[in-house]
Amino acid sequence: MSNIIDRRLNGKNKSAVNRERFLRRFKAQIKEAVGKAIKGRSITDIDSGESVSIPVKDISEPTFHHGRGGRSDQVHPGNEEFIRGDRINRPQGGGAGGGGGKASNEGEGEDDFAFQLSREEFMNVFFEDLALPNLIKTQLMGIEEMKSVRAGYTNDGTPANISIVRSLRGALARRVAMAAPTLRQLREAEEDLDTLLESDADNGPEVRERRKRIHALRDKINRIPFIDPYDLRYNNRVKQPKPTSQAVMFCIMDVSGSMDESKKDMAKRFFILLYLFLQRNYEKIEVVFIRHHTSAVEVSEQDFFHSRESGGTVVSSALNLMHDIVQKRYANRDWNIYAAQASDGDNWDSDSANCGRIMQESLLPWCQYFAYIEITQGEPQNLWYEYLKVAEHYKHFAMQKIGSPADIYPVFRELFKRQPATR
């Protein structure tokens, strides 16, 4: 007799460990690919897997094998026209009769070993540079938050969830229902007995027999269990997605001549992180891109990251524009407003005081959160000091000087600590 075993329910991801080993080994290449992908992708599209390719020679496992040359004989099937002694030109490219296995290595698409990173793996690599605490990572990667609500009763569950009132009510009903026919018989038997006793005839054996029956019926009623597993009812709770609302995210960036590609790349990571955070907490997110030098304009994401301007910097122009847009489009209380501003700290001297004022008077009261990063290696300039004053008064204003991607996270520390607003 053969053994037949159903293994379908056994874990299917036995190779997950090996896959993870594989990713671990080629981390450098994968990181590079992810870095490229982040540059190439739109902020709103950051949250999906990515196809990564690694040069085949990097991942090959070498073994000894013969090179071309020497003498070899190969037998092939399907001779159509050859007779012994025929001489044939060597085919171009591959060694004739080089065997099937080798020839296929020359096919196209073999230069790179391409494979798909899952969304989770992609995010892991992305988060790696940012030095996020683990809790935040799960928060960002997790699916939308659920809250558990009561939803009636069920027949099974854990003992902790037993609803006593319901269970006992059920038990009572069952007892009544189960006892009803017996009770009726009992009543009849008792009446029977009474009539017998009232009649004076000597019918001792019959009376005894009736009594026995009454006794048996009572016993039967007593045997009905007080409570039965069948009666148990459990409080039922179901998960419901938390009510979410909408948010708008302002990305403000200085695009004056001093902001080079690497600074923009850093800024992009900063914007992505805020976007990811918002995405977890709000169902609908709009993103507004404002770039500025001496004057500010609202642009598409493409223009935002990829065009370069020259000239001086007037930060207040961007803040004013943001204020206008907020008033025009997002003034009702349905919108949660978040803003992220990236700059290299340059500003026209007398403008900085202006910025502080606009920020305090017309922006911060509307915003859930406003984060400012200064991407620079040098000394902070007057805008920084102006903003420091603002930060003293407003808890939902965060600022940070950034040299490497790992510095980005502290900006959001406060934000991630808070419960997401659900107004």
């Binding site: 190779s15 896959r19 000894f64």
Partner: protein
């Protein structure tokens, strides 16, 4: 008899009934000798898992398995390739996987093919009998997996991974081709492993003892040759003699070597093994049909996939990819049966021993006592050479053109037979590289020697890469010489351990 089933859906009950029917024919009518059968139903994902750990239900962890997994998954998801219908494990009981997606007919085919065909081959063929221990392999792999993950905890994943990389590069050189292995149970293996660690280290130290020896007779004595004879099993040599390896590293080398040894017979019997399984699924399914236990529809479905399996595209076809082992093997067993039952004059001349004798014992003998190479040189008949229209091509680098050296005619039969047999000789397919000597008194460098066959050189790029791995294991410099048949060195490779460490 009534057909066992009429629809295409399978159920556990049906599988059981098909299995019983097939077993009755296999054991009762054809006297196939098999290990007990264990059929496991798995999903496509699990099949991919099984693929990537070379079919074994347990295996140690290594990135290369992950690579295979990623590759398979990619191919499968894009629909570029289907999964094999079956994987069968040479163990006792013999485990055969059935994929849940398959129809009932396909399940029956797989049962006949794997659980009775391959199974009886594993149990009967002399290579498997000598080299593998079906009852111990799973236990051994469990031991290997645990041991390696303990090493990872203790010495770090990177150290273990590096070592495994190097061992894998030499895996084909980790087998004994001539010596017989001993069989061990798991318990003995574990007990001996600790003992071995200590003992081995002692031995190695002994080998490299630096106490100066007294010169005998004043005469300058030639340094004793080490090893005294060339060694074919490079991994074994490294396990026993590499000076710098830690005991745990030696054990891991040993594990890789054992696994390589276990798979060695499979690599030598591809045509025979697949041919045998195909022959039996064909025979058994036909018997089922004769007994009216299969419907016409099921038979058509079976025949369609059978024909696909044994199709041999001609050399001119764009998708020609060498000789299909299923096609050749199946045709050969069928042909042997034909020679037994209805021999022609030609067969009587070529196969006087078997022509006209009962086919079952002849087939059994052929399955048990050969490997691909000898099987072909013994049983490839002129008729098959004609049927396949085989021809041999000689590729000689001293000649500016290729030459057709034989075709399917009277003069060509012997030649084609021997060339085809040679083509399946692992010994000539893989470069013959052996441990040649160790410079015991000087820089401790290890010299490997490649003996050329038909003047075939080593592939330079890969040889240089592998040599780095050898150097990492050996710990000192490693040289590789490729030597012509007249003893002149044609290629030289050299690798220093520091260089190896830096570039691997």
């Amino acid at each position: 008899m009534k057909p066992i089933s009429t629809g295409s859906e399978w159920t556990f009950d049906l599988i059981e009934r098909y299995d019983a029917a097939i077993r009755e024919i296999a054991h009762g009518e054809f006297h196939l000798d098999t290990y007990p059968v264990q059929l496991e139903i798995i999903t496509a994902e699990q099949m991919m898992d099984a693929y990537s750990s070379v079919g074994m239900p347990v295996n140690y962890q290594h990135w290369s398995f992950g690579k295979h997994f990623v590759q398979t998954e990619k191919g499968y998801k894009r629909g570029q390739m289907g999964l094999a219908y079956e994987i069968v494990i040479n163990s006792n009981p013999c485990i055969a996987y059935l994929m849940e997606e398959n129809t009932m007919t396909m399940q029956a085919l797989v049962i006949a093919h794997a659980a009775y065909g391959h199974n009886s081959f594993f149990k009967g063929n002399y290579l498997f009998r000598t080299w593998t221990d079906a009852s111990a392999i799973i236990d051994y792999l469990v031991f290997a997996k645990q041991y390696i993950s303990r090493c990872e905890e203790r010495y770090g994943i990177d150290a273990v991974e590096e070592l495994l990389d190097s061992c894998h590069a030499l895996m084909n050189y980790g087998v004994d081709r001539y010596k017989r292995p001993q069989k061990l149970s798991l318990a003995e293996e574990q007990a001996r492993q600790v003992e071995r660690e200590n003992y081995l280290q002692l031995q190695v130290n002994d080998l490299w003892r630096t106490i100066p020896r007294r010169e005998k007779d004043g005469a300058s004595q030639a340094a004793p040759r080490f090893p005294p004879e060339p060694q074919e099993n490079i991994l074994y040599f490294i396990e026993k003699s590499a000076p710098l390896l830690e005991p745990w590293q030696r054990e891991i080398v040993r594990i890789v070597r054992k696994v390589a040894q276990y798979f060695y017979p499979q690599r030598q019997t591809q045509v025979m093994n697949e041919g045998w399984a195909t022959f039996w699924h064909y025979t058994l399914m036909n018997r089922l049909y004769d007994k009216e236990m299969l419907t016409d529809g099921a038979m058509m479905e079976f025949l369609q996939s059978h024909t696909n399996v044994v199709y041999q595209p001609p050399v001119t076809a764009r998708w020609y990819n060498g000789i299909n082992p299923y096609a050749l093997g199946f045709a050969m067993y069928q042909d042997i049966k034909r020679i037994c039952e209805a021999p022609t004059d030609e067969d009587r001349e070529w196969f006087p021993d078997i022509a006209g004798t009962p086919w079952r014992p002849v087939l059994e003998f052929a399955m048990k006592n050969f490997k691909d190479e000898s099987f072909i040189s013994q049983y490839l008949s002129p008729k098959l050479i004609r049927d396949f229209r085989f021809f041999a091509i000689r590729d000689d680098d001293h000649d500016d053109k290729l030459e057709v050296s034989a075709i399917h005619d009277e003069q060509g039969y012997q030649m084609i037979r021997s060339k085809l047999s040679e083509q399946y000789n692992l010994g000539s397919r893989e470069p013959n590289i052996q441990v040649w000597s160790v410079n015991v008194r000087g820089d401790r460098s290890l010299t490997l020697r490649h003996t050329r066959h038909n003047r075939k050189p080593l592939d330079e790029a890969s040889a240089q890469e592998v040599l780095k791995h050898v150097a990492r294991l050996w710990g000192f410099g490693v040289k590789l010489e490729s030597v012509d048949s007249d003893g002149t060195v044609q290629q030289r490779f050299d690798c220093h351990p520091e260089a190896a460490q830096a570039s691997l």
